[in-house]
């Protein structure tokens, strides 16, 4: 009997892997371990055995039954998986066919490069405690010139080729320095703010000259502010912009609204000051104009120059952006051409 049991088990083992579907499996299961199955039949014959043999056979038969149940369960799961996978195989999609390789028109989306650089600058100043201001593009003479210590006859007005409106009183702001005046109207010292924005100059357009471009103005007013404070601050700023510890130098520069006034240069990053085509062989690159706020400007803004002083600076955002991305022609910035914008995509 025991031998017979082992034979049935052997047959079971050899057949189970060839069961291929769930209905077949149900049949197979009934054949072996069903109420009328072969195992039950054998167990029915136990009556004729001695007590001793009954014990041995019973234990073994139970063991075989458990093994069979487990094997059927395992095989059933496998059959189910195969069936699902077969279905998946049938419904297979081409996952290489992404939007990126499909001609569906424009796929890219993203910010304008000037927006990216301006935001970076704004965030940098914000982290240093500066307010961010905005102001009108169409200005009056007072905010663009007079209040900045540039009276009507001042030759500095010639330095900036101004777009005038026909009333000869209003103009397109030639610099973001109007924000110094507008900022003083809304802030009490001590204060510090920057203001990025569009400015306009009546210049003939070419690859490096635009009539509409962008500047960032900054002003910090407090007590006992010195030129070394300004140098420290601007060096920190430029080092952060260029992600590199920079060397800077000041040289005299003339802007009527600051005194002393400076041009700030930084040591050329490309050649380390030895001279190359980027720095026009001088080893230094002009970065921005800056200086200590002229007492007349402070006074005009209702601030007592004997109590407070400070510094102001202005930098060109377009040039910074062009340097960052190596943009060859400033006119692309306002072109509205998506072939240009696409290159600065977020995705």
């Amino acid at each position: 009997m025991l031998q017979k049991l082992e034979e049935v088990k052997k047959e079971f083992d050899s057949e189970i892997d060839s069961v291929a579907s769930m209905p077949d499996m149900a049949q197979f299961k009934a054949d072996y371990i069903g109420k009328k199955g072969r195992l039950s039949a054998l167990m029915g014959g136990m009556r004729d055995l001695s007590v001793e043999d009954k014990k041995t056979f019973g234990a073994r038969a139970n063991e075989v039954k458990q093994e069979m149940i487990a094997a059927v369960e395992k095989r059933s799961q496998a059959i189910e998986l195969e069936a699902i996978n077969a279905k998946l195989e049938k419904n297979r999609q081409d996952i290489s066919w992404t939007d990126r390789i499909t001609d569906k028109g424009q796929q890219a989306a993203g910010l304008h490069p000037l927006t990216k650089v301006t935001r970076e600058l704004e965030d940098l100043f914000l982290s240093m405690g500066f307010d961010i201001l905005d102001g009108p593009h169409i200005e009056d003479e007072y905010h663009n010139f007079e209040a900045l210590n540039i009276p009507e006859s001042h030759p500095a007005r010639d330095m900036q080729d101004t777009f005038w409106f026909k009333d000869k009183k209003h103009l397109l702001r030639t610099h973001t320095s109007n924000l110094q005046i507008r900022g003083m109207e809304t802030h009490k010292p001590p204060f510090k703010f920057v203001g990025p924005g569009k400015v306009f100059r009546c210049e003939t357009l070419d690859a490096s000259h635009e009539a509409a471009f962008h500047q960032l103005e900054g002003m910090m007013v407090g007590r006992d502010i010195s030129v070394p404070h300004m140098i420290h601050f601007l060096r920190t700023l430029l080092s952060e912009i260029f992600k590199s510890e920079l060397k800077v130098r000041l040289r005299p520069g003339f802007f009527p609204f600051v005194e002393p006034g400076f041009e700030l240069d930084y040591e050329c990053l490309l050649c380390g000051g030895k001279g190359c085509s980027v720095c026009k062989q001088v080893g230094w690159v002009e970065a921005l104009g800056c200086g200590m706020v002229h007492p007349n400007v402070l006074r005009g803004g209702g601030i007592d120059p004997n109590e407070f002083n400070g510094f102001a600076f202005g930098l060109g955002i377009d040039r910074l952006t062009m340097m960052r991305y190596r943009i060859d022609d400033v006119r692309h910035l306002h072109s509205g051409n998506l072939q240009f914008s696409e290159q600065f995509r977020t995705y």
Binding site: G105, Q106, G222, D224, S226, P260, S341
Partner: protein, 806 residues
């Protein structure tokens, strides 16, 4: 402006520095040196030679082999010049010479024959533009002598100064003023050849004769004082070589001794002047007066200029002879036979000169200087320096009478109080008072130290405009001390909280939304526009009040009144590259405003273009999401003729008859979403579906974006849904059908939506609606549900949307 260091050395000794180093030092202390140029260095290597023999070149018809004596042996070169002849004296540049073109001569075989240098034409030596043949030197030119020595050509270094960097420094528009800066910057003493003692000595030449020319300056003219001196017995000839060289180096063409002296003194002392042929001064009178009425005047460049009544002219008894402070006339200049002259030196009001010269488009060496505010103290000094040079050139000449002048007013000296504490506090230095005084004195300030306060007398030539307050003095101290010596220092900072302004936050949210949700590319288009584009876009607001007086072109002659025309233009441009695209701009448009002249409007413009399918619904859904994301109370609705849309005119031909909606924010219409009418598209050569949205944010962008979330606990009891399909006319908007459900009065009705819309026939369609029913306090009873469903169906039926049968 070019500065000759050779000239500077007349007044100050310069340190031994390379020309480049000199440029850098001057840039750091005074003004921007844009370039450095060495002149005449090659002339020391080029020498006089005599041609001895000419042979044919064995391999080239046009070239010859020319032998010559150099004084230290015979040499031979290959030469192609047409005018070579034996016995001729010519300049020879040996191997190693660097000629003005920057090209260095190297040993070289020309067609197989070795050439040992070059015989030169005038242009190759930088002496003129002449390239007709070799420069022929006089027969008595000594063989072997360098050309530098023979022609008395001095080696020089020229600094090219950026004029913009000295607009505030009238004193730097002449070599003497520049020399003062070199003296201060390098700590070398400045020679003072034109001091008060010299003036006194020169005045000794004035005499008692009656001046043959009188001077009157009318009240109210542009003139700030006019001086003149008559000199007889001059003769016209060439200036000495050294003077010609300096003038040439500074970009002036030598003419004759009189004109050259006039220019030379301007370049030296910075004061423009004019030397008249006195015989042309009709009536022996000079009157400075305004034109009085509009008219014309011919300047010495033979151009007829249109003058207006307010222009100040220098006139004689008969009429104008020059435009005051700008340019002389044709007749008054000296001629070859001139014998008697009148030296004019005057000062002019900068703003008047600037006005007239700008209007005439005539910027001259004189007007450029007068614009900077010149110092009247320099008038007589300039007259006397001219006289000194005239007498050097024409020793036989003599002064007739003394200086004649009118309206010359000398301002009292400007004295500024300065404290050491202030200097050190601004510069962050620890300078001693003696050091500050030394620096200021090197710039010819006079200091009277009274305890802590230094009373600083500003030299008259700095006091015309540049130096006004102590900050100006501190700048001078700083730059001469050396700004590069200042040690950067962190400012002590007060702790402040800063954040972006609400407007900036809103702008950034919109930009991010448009990129991440709108899948769009940001563009910047031009804020300036022209009538042509506005007309093409059929835009009714032409912004005539915002037209520029000096536009660069008619295409950019005014401020744009709206983003719409710009966007149409960009849409047209980009459809060439893409069959489908999405772009946006956060830009400004500008409107006339009676009270404030103008107002900047902040607008968001969106364009979706698709060649095949209409992207209208995409833009509509996008705008809805955008407004919600900005927490703005907004509606998007069909236009109502009772309310005008301020962003786009109601009769704008770009409007689509159906696909056009107003955007209303906080009760005010401030934008639109619309498909651009095909006819407008065709005007811009756009072939496809163009949908545009513009949102004017000006009125609400300063409001903080608030988080208005109101949390409700999740329902504890299950809800139920109920679907029903009703029949509606084909043209009935699905939203109208849904609208009926929204009005059903049933507090358990949580939400209603459209599941599907399906055409039934030509004239009818079915709309399947889903209702969500929920009671937050209990499970919905079956009886209640039946009742609710009946209520919903009844409402639809009553509104004309019966249940679909079967």
């Amino acid at each position: 402006m070019k500065i000759s260091l050779d000239w500077i050395k007349d007044f100050v000794e310069l340190p031994e520095l390379s020309p480049q180093e000199m440029g850098v030092r001057f840039t750091l202390s005074t003004c921007e040196v844009e370039g450095v140029e060495e002149t005449n260095a090659h002339m020391e290597q080029v020498s006089v030679v005599e041609i001895t023999k000419i042979e044919a070149h064995p391999e080239a018809d046009k070239l010859r082999l020319v032998s010559f004596e150099t004084g230290s042996g015979e040499r031979r070169v290959v030469c192609g010049a047409p005018n070579v002849a034996p016995g001729m004296k010519v300049p020879f540049a040996p191997i190693g010479t660097t000629l003005p073109g920057g090209f260095t001569l190297e040993p070289k075989k020309i067609r197989g024959v070795m050439s040992e240098g070059m015989l030169c034409a005038e242009d190759e030596l930088g002496l003129s533009d002449d390239h007709a043949g070799l420069m022929e030197l006089p027969a008595d030119a000594p063989v072997g002598k360098s050309l530098a020595e023979y022609l008395e050509l001095k080696r020089d270094v020229l600094l090219d100064i950026d004029n913009k960097s000295i607009t505030h420094r009238p004193d730097l528009w002449g070599h003497y003023g520049m020399a003062r800066e070199f003296s201060a910057a390098f700590g070398k003493p400045l020679a003072k050849p034109f001091d008060e003692a010299w003036i006194e000595k020169m005045r000794g030449l004035y005499n008692d004769e009656t001046p043959p020319v009188s001077v009157t300056v009318d009240e109210g003219t542009a003139c700030l004082g006019f001086c003149g001196l008559s000199v007889d017995g001059v003769s016209i000839k060439s200036s000495p070589v050294w003077m010609q060289q300096r003038l040439t180096a500074c970009g002036m063409r030598p003419i004759n001794n009189i004109v050259d002296i006039s220019n030379y003194v301007m370049l030296e002392l910075g004061m423009p002047n004019h030397i008249f042929d006195r015989d042309t001064v009709r009536g022996g009178r000079i009157i400075v007066r305004d034109m009085g009425k509009d008219g014309t005047f011919t300047t010495l460049d033979e151009m007829e200029r249109k003058m207006i009544a307010a222009d100040t002219m220098v006139c004689d008894a008969e009429g104008p002879s020059s435009i005051g402070g700008i340019m002389g006339g044709l007749t008054s200049s000296v001629k070859d036979e001139t014998n008697r002259v009148f030296i004019e030196v005057a000062n002019w009001k900068p703003e008047r000169i600037r006005h007239t010269s700008t209007r005439l488009g005539l910027r001259t060496d004189a007007s450029q200087r007068y614009e900077k505010s010149l110092d009247s103290h320099q008038i007589e000094r300039t007259v006397l320096r001219i006289l000194e040079l005239l007498l050097e050139s024409c020793p036989e000449a003599k002064v007739v009478g003394s200086l004649v002048s009118d309206k010359v007013q000398l301002k009292p000296p400007l004295i500024i109080d300065l404290t050491l504490e202030r200097v050190n506090s601004i510069l962050g230095t620890t300078l001693e008072q003696s050091e500050v005084i030394r620096i200021l004195e090197s710039l010819e300030y006079k200091i009277d130290a009274q305890g802590d306060v230094m009373k600083v007398t500003v030299p008259s030539y700095r006091a015309t405009k540049d130096v006004e307050v102590d900050a100006d003095l501190i700048e001078d101290v700083g730059r001469i001390y050396g700004f590069d010596k200042l040690i950067p220092l962190a400012p002590h900072n007060e702790i402040t909280v800063t954040s972006l302004s609400p407007a900036k936050i809103m702008e950034r949210r919109i930009q991010d939304f448009m990129v991440l949700r709108g899948r769009a590319l940001e563009i910047y288009s031009y804020p300036l526009t022209g009538a042509r584009l506005l007309e093409q876009a059929d835009w009714s607001v032409m912004n005539e009040g915002l037209v520029l007086a000096n536009a660069l072109s008619p295409e950019t002659d005014r401020m744009r009144p709206s983003l719409v025309p710009s966007l149409l233009e960009k849409a047209s441009l980009n459809q060439k590259f893409h069959s489908k695209y999405r772009l946006f701009e956060l830009g400004r448009s500008y409107l006339e405003n009676e009270k404030n002249f103008s107002e900047d409007r902040h607008q968001l413009g969106i364009i979706y273009f698709d060649k095949n399918e209409s992207p209208f619904m995409d833009v509509l859904n996008l705008m809805g999401d955008l407004l919600e994301s900005l927490s703005l109370k907004a509606q998007i609705q069909p236009p109502n003729p009772k309310f005008a849309n301020p962003v786009v005119a109601s009769d704008w031909t770009g409007r689509h008859p159906h696909e056009f909606l107003d955007v209303r924010v906080m009760g005010k219409i401030c934008g639109f979403i619309g498909t651009i009418h095909p006819l407008m598209c065709s005007k811009f050569k756009i072939k496809g579906n163009l949908v545009m949205a513009v949102l004017d944010m000006t009125d609400f962008m300063d409001r903080p974006v608030k988080d208005k979330t109101k949390y409700k606990p999740l329902p504890k009891f299950p809800g139920a849904t109920f679907d029903c399909t009703v029949v509606a006319e084909t043209n009935t908007p699905a939203a109208d059908v849904l609208g009926v459900l929204k009005k059903v009065k049933l507090k358990e009705l949580e939400d209603v939506r459209i599941v599907d819309v399906y055409p039934l026939s030509e004239s009818q369609k079915t709309v399947t609606l889903r209702s969500w029913l929920l009671d937050r306090d209990k499970t919905l009873a079956p009886d209640f549900l039946k009742e609710a469903e009946n209520k919903i169906v009844a409402a639809l039926d009553k509104a004309g949307y019966p249940l679909k049968q079967g």
